[in-house]
């Protein structure tokens, strides 16, 4: 950690501790996202800071016994640092972009709170918005209905245009959370029809019909921390060798690996749903030069033959 990072933190820590008398070491460490040990090191620096003159009455006072014995911080004699430093442009922009993301994603009530908070922050920093965020957040009515169902803890019936399977379904689900991943909003919900956790992209939900049925406890929905599909134990690796015309998938889908292959690329993806892979191969058509394992292409080949039969071709 650099001295600059420490000074920046100290300049916020002094007013914070005056706003929060008798603060708990762990809580403060969490607010500033440092270890309790680092926080103690910070306090030891502040112990030597104060007004020019250097007499004991000029220095910031910290009750070090209370810190060590009780884990409590009592700081005084620091009126000269009563308020935090202004936001840096970096901090203001990072916060403003985060708020803009919520503006794209939240329900009506959240968005109105975000908009007014954003206006106040921007009034203080006086910056032009130089960073924009557009999230695939779905229709307002869908977001509002889901927020309402989440707050009330009731099941909903979705009208869902599933893209990977290419059909409209009407699942009854217990909503658990709305989350953004890779730029799109998703609903994580327990599907009553499937008896399992499912993820629904918000912009593909056409309608949400609330029910009076309270949601049951299904535990936590699976996390996405490991990345796309990593939580699906049934996912298999498939490697596609693609002509240049198929290179777009490297920017479109999360891939395990990509390497150049001739003019094109060789891309390895994790496939959890064979129907999704069938559609991808049908989509790519002549851009697919090779599929490994080869049997992964069998379903797409059969589907193409069935389609050709529909054309009498």
């Amino acid at each position: 950690m650099t001295s600059a990072a420490q000074v920046s933190r100290l300049l916020a820590l002094v007013p914070y501790l005056q706003q929060h008398p008798d603060a708990d070491v762990r809580t403060v460490a969490e607010v500033f996202q440092v270890t309790p040990r680092q926080l103690l090191a910070d306090l030891n620096v502040l112990w030597f800071c104060g007004l020019p003159g250097g007499t004991p009455g000029d220095l910031i006072e910290i009750d070090m016994d209370a810190v060590e014995a009780e884990g409590r911080i009592r700081l005084s004699n620091a009126d000269f640092l009563a308020r935090p430093l202004r936001f840096t442009l970096d901090e203001a922009m990072a916060l403003a972009v985060a708020l803009r993301a919520l503006l794209e994603f939240g329900d009506t009530a959240l968005r109105s709170a975000v908009a007014s908070a954003l206006a106040k922050i921007e009034a203080v920093v006086g910056t032009e918005p130089r960073v924009g965020v557009l999230l695939g957040g779905g229709a307002d009515a869908v977001r509002d209905a889901l927020a309402d169902a989440l707050a009330r803890g009731v099941a909903v019936r979705l009208e869902y245009n599933g893209a990977s399977r290419g059909a409209t379904t009407h699942p009854l689900v217990d909503p658990a959370r709305v989350a953004v991943r890779d730029g799109y909003s998703y609903l994580d919900a327990w599907s009553h029809d499937r008896g399992a956790w499912r993820t629904y992209r918000l912009d593909r939900i056409v309608a949400v019909t609330p029910t009076d049925r309270p949601v049951a406890d299904h535990g936590e929905p699976p996390g996405w921390a490991g990345g796309w599909l990593d939580h699906r134990p049934d996912a298999v690796e498939v490697t596609l060798t693609l002509a240049p015309a198929g290179r777009w998938i490297t920017e479109y889908y999360p891939l395990r690996s990509v390497e150049p292959a001739g003019d094109g690329v060789r891309a390895t993806l994790l496939v959890a749903d064979p129907v999704w892979l069938r559609r991808l191969l049908l989509r790519l058509g002549p851009a697919v030069l090779a599929v490994d394992p080869p049997e992964a292409a069998a379903s797409a080949r059969d589907a193409a033959r069935a389609a050709l039969a529909a054309y009498d071709a």
Binding site: G50, L51, L85, V97, L102, V131, L135, A163, R177, Y252
Partner: protein, 333 residues
């Protein structure tokens, strides 16, 4: 990290903040204990570095003279009104929103910057509350290696040089935009003398600053208009499709049902269990691939050229052979 250095910079800050007049170097050297015992040269060096460090933290140090008669006697001070976060008041809903905002960034350095901003708000007595985050998880990532240098350049208004599609360009960054999980840069390309849109992931080297900060002005921009090139191309033709019932909702959404009488085409009418739709599409995009993805659920009745393209596309899949290259899909470039 040096505790002594942090201590010295803190004391320098407090010293300049409390001063009613400009404080001259020699006074600073005496007042701030951390400068005691340094040679003249070492003091000059250390003091210059400390000032620079405070400036990067956003601490505004003003330089001036107390004397109109001797304006060369330069001193320093920090104006409290420039230093302190102005009073901010948020209601409960706004503080909840701020708490949620503090969890949005996935990119580590900007996540840190947001944490610092929120810690400042807490230090000013605002209490953001992230408890609502349990059911709402917004996240914005920035995994593109070129993102960070572009962000810095944009904030500082510094021109940057990078390689894009194998061509070196020097640009003035105007706006960064996050759309569908990817970052785009709207910038003025000084080589071509025009505004350009760059996909950040396609920048193949680390953008390097060119010249000094504040080198250009950013014009007012309409973000949606700047990104219009990323939207699907406008339709230039209309196809007549037979779509199996309840299949291909993504196609039906943009289509209009067609009367059965419309189906007198050389290709015949809709098979049983299929509905007829008029589907607008852009001819320069990969419409054939988009339609072929639906397999037997979608049959093109007209125009014949599109019908033939889909049949050729499907044959390539059925025979597992390479063929003619399709165009890029909609929304890609």
């Amino acid at each position: 990290m040096s505790a002594r250095k942090s201590e010295r910079i803190m004391n320098l800050t407090i010293c300049l903040l409390m001063a009613r007049r400009f404080v001259e170097r020699e006074q600073i050297r005496q007042l701030v204990e951390g400068y005691h015992g340094l040679s003249d040269a070492a003091f000059e060096r250390t003091f210059e570095r400390d000032k620079e460090e405070l400036r990067t933290l956003g601490v505004p140090i003003e330089t001036g003279s107390n004397s109109a008669l001797f304006p060369d006697e330069v001193g320093y001070r920090i104006r409290r009104t420039d230093f302190e976060l102005p009073p901010l008041e948020f209601d409960a809903a706004e503080t909840a929103a701020l708490g949620l905002a503090s969890t949005v960034w996935e990119q580590a350095r900007l996540a840190d910057a947001t944490v610092r901003a929120v810690a400042k708000l807490r230090a000013a007595g605002v209490e953001p509350d992230a408890s609502r985050a349990a059911a709402l998880e917004a996240s914005v990532g920035a995994a593109e290696p070129a993102f960070e240098p572009l962000w810095q350049a944009l904030l500082a208004r510094t021109r940057v040089r990078f390689t894009y599609h194998g061509v070196v360009r020097v640009v003035e960054p105007w706006t960064l935009a996050y759309r569908r999980g990817a970052w785009y840069l709207v910038a003025f390309d000084t080589t071509r003398g025009e505004r350009r849109l760059f996909k950040v992931t396609r920048i193949s080297d680390a953008p390097a600053p060119v010249g000094r900060p504040g080198a250009y002005e950013i014009p007012a921009l309409d973000l949606a208009e700047s990104l219009a090139a990323l939207e699907p191309a406008p339709a230039t033709a209309e196809a007549l499709l037979a779509i199996a019932d309840a299949a291909a909702p993504d196609l039906r959404r943009r289509a209009t049902p067609a009367a059965a009488a419309a189906a007198h085409t050389p290709a015949g009418g809709a098979p049983p269990g299929y509905g007829l739709y008029r589907w607008p599409y852009a001819e320069d995009r990969d419409a054939a691939g988009e339609l072929a993805a639906h397999g037997a659920d979608v049959v093109v009745l007209a125009p014949p050229a599109l019908r033939d393209a889909v049949i050729a596309h499907l044959r390539a899949v059925a025979e597992g052979a390479a063929g003619a290259a399709p165009e890029r899909p909609e929304g890609q470039r």
